[in-house]
């Protein structure tokens, strides 16, 4: 007895929604990173689901790429966050508005 594919998709959608909501509402750079990770993983979950349902290995292969890119992105992103925190003792993105037009 296996879990129906729709459940996985619903779980993915919920996770993606939570991530998106958090990204839009929180102002800590660190939390926003975590929300992005959440959204990425929601997407990889749907990839894997469809891969299994359709019998196509491509979806699962893509997931590896997503994980690699996400790892790289987190490394760079956390580096930036640490650098910003050292300069101004805060990770609030609302204070980082020097580049506004």
């Amino acid at each position: 007895m296996s879990v129906p594919a729709a459940w996985y998709l619903v779980l993915g959608a919920v996770l993606f929604g939570i991530g998106a909501f958090g990204l839009l509402t929180r102002r800590s750079a660190l939390i926003m990173f975590m929300c992005i990770e959440l959204m990425l993983n929601a997407v990889t979950l749907t990839f894997v689901t469809f891969s299994r349902t359709l019998g196509d290995i491509g979806g699962q292969a893509t997931v590896f790429f997503v994980m690699v890119v996400a790892a790289a992105e987190v490394t760079v992103g956390l580096g930036i966050v640490v650098a910003v925190f050292r300069r101004r003792s805060s990770t609030s993105v609302d204070e980082l508005s020097e580049m506004k037009g």
Partner: protein, 623 residues
Amino acid sequence: MAHVATLIVLWPLAGFLVVVVNGKWLSERAVGAVATGVVAASFVTSVIAFVLLLSDAHREVTVQLFSWITAGTLQVPAALLVDPLSITMCLFVTGISALIHLYSMGYMKGERDYTKFFLYMNLFVFSMLLLVLANNLVLTFVGWEGVGVCSYWLVSYYFDRDSAASAGKKAFIYNRVGDVGLLIAMFLLFSRLHTLTYLSVFHRAGTLSPTVATLVVLALLLGATGKSAQIPLFNWLPDAMEGPTPVSALIHAATMVTAGVYLLVRMAPVLALSSSGRATIAVVGALTAFVAATIATSQRDIKKVLAFSTVSQIGYMVLAVGAGAYSAAIFLMISHAFFKALLFLGSGSVIHALNGEQDMRKMGGLAKYLPLTFPTFLVGWLTISGIPPFAGFWSKGEVLTNVYLFSKPLWVLGVATAMLTGYYMSRLFVLTFRGTERFRADTHGHDPHESPWVMTAPLVVLAALSVAGGVLDLPWVHRASLAGFLDPTFGFIPNHGHASTLAQVALAGVDVVVAVAGVVAALAIWRSRVTSDRYERPFLERVWRWDDAYDAAIGRPLTAASQFGDDVIEPRVIDGAVAAIAVGVRRSAEGVRKIQSGFLRHYALGIALGLAVIVVYLLARAG
């Protein structure tokens, strides 16, 4: 024959190249000798070519040099056509040129750009010979433009004088208007006949429709009016007198200005197809002859009188072409080259003697100071006036006889012009050589001096030619005359029939009577006065207000339009458009930059909304 014909053209070019390369270190004498020598050599070569042509059965030789332009059906060879017409032109062009080159060695002595002068002169002779000898319209056009640009350089020779610089520009621009006509004629001919080689054009000319033939003839006429200074493009020629006097004699009297007539004569088989086109040519010629003659009666500058006289005489030639009397036109062209070169060189000798004075009011009584210039000028005066037995009587008589057969009203105009010619030339003669001496201020009290031999020798030769030139084409000789020689070129063109001997004698009598009447009238009026409000009308002195009319019709509207552009279009339209673009970009940028708030969440929201829009769109399309 091939080498001889090529040499005719190459001599002046060689002279030009030698002087171009060595001009810096050659002495004035050497430059003059080289330039004169090559033209003389060209004359000798022309004589040889003439003799060879006489022994040729067809009287027509095409010399292929190389193929010049090959593009589709357009085949333009660099080839020379040696036939009676072109060789006649070569003979008198090179002969007169050689004499004028010799004269220039004396006249231009000590001028600042002596070398440059002879460079241009040699280049001019080369271009003129190319124009004459070319076997197709394109190569003729090269020569046509070549003589035009040399004319421009030589008119503007004293370019530090404003009047000379603008006279050169005027000559160039008027010629350019005429050139358009020649180009249009070429385009029309090529589009219909697919060839621009003279002999092929003549061969196929019969297939032209009458309308196209008339258009071609009118376009050729426009080209001729530019180059030969006919109405409506005649008024550059008097201004061209700003050039040195030998240039006026060579280019603006004897040779270049007859190029338009030559072109019309050369295209005679095409002209024969359009009687309305020919009638237009005749009317233009007659009007020009008359108008220019009236203007010449009221000019005070000796060279201006001669310039308008040239315009008038070329008008006669064009009239003869229109009347279908091609060999008469060529005959007048040759005798005109003799006597007009003589008159110009004589006037140059006078100007030389008076340290550059050209105003006839400041001359007078020069006869006894210029023992060679005076008698030769006397010959020139009688010749152009049409007094027998000088060349002018015969050539002008032949033209007028043919015109009489062609159209009586034009003949009346021609005879009136003949009377005016006698009048204004006598006025010039009396004011210059007779009467009281009015030149002492210019010569600082000294007696004027006769010119050196290099200047007087050409005068003597030209005077002899003016006296004897009539024998080229006496009316009662045909076979051994110029007309007989030119028969292979024009023989196939039907003539109007011949005047009876009695009519010819009567017409000649009329010519003599009107000429003498003009001369006597002038002698009576000008023997005792220097200026006269009654006989020198301002309207005539101002060239029938022709320049003013062009100024009012073209010059001022264009100036006003340019001023309008400067005042309104430039600041409002063009600057306005540029400024509007700049302001528009700045305004819109100020609006757009508000989007970039600097808040990361706004961007994220933007992405989310964009994503939502895309998803909704995809769903809507799928559904």
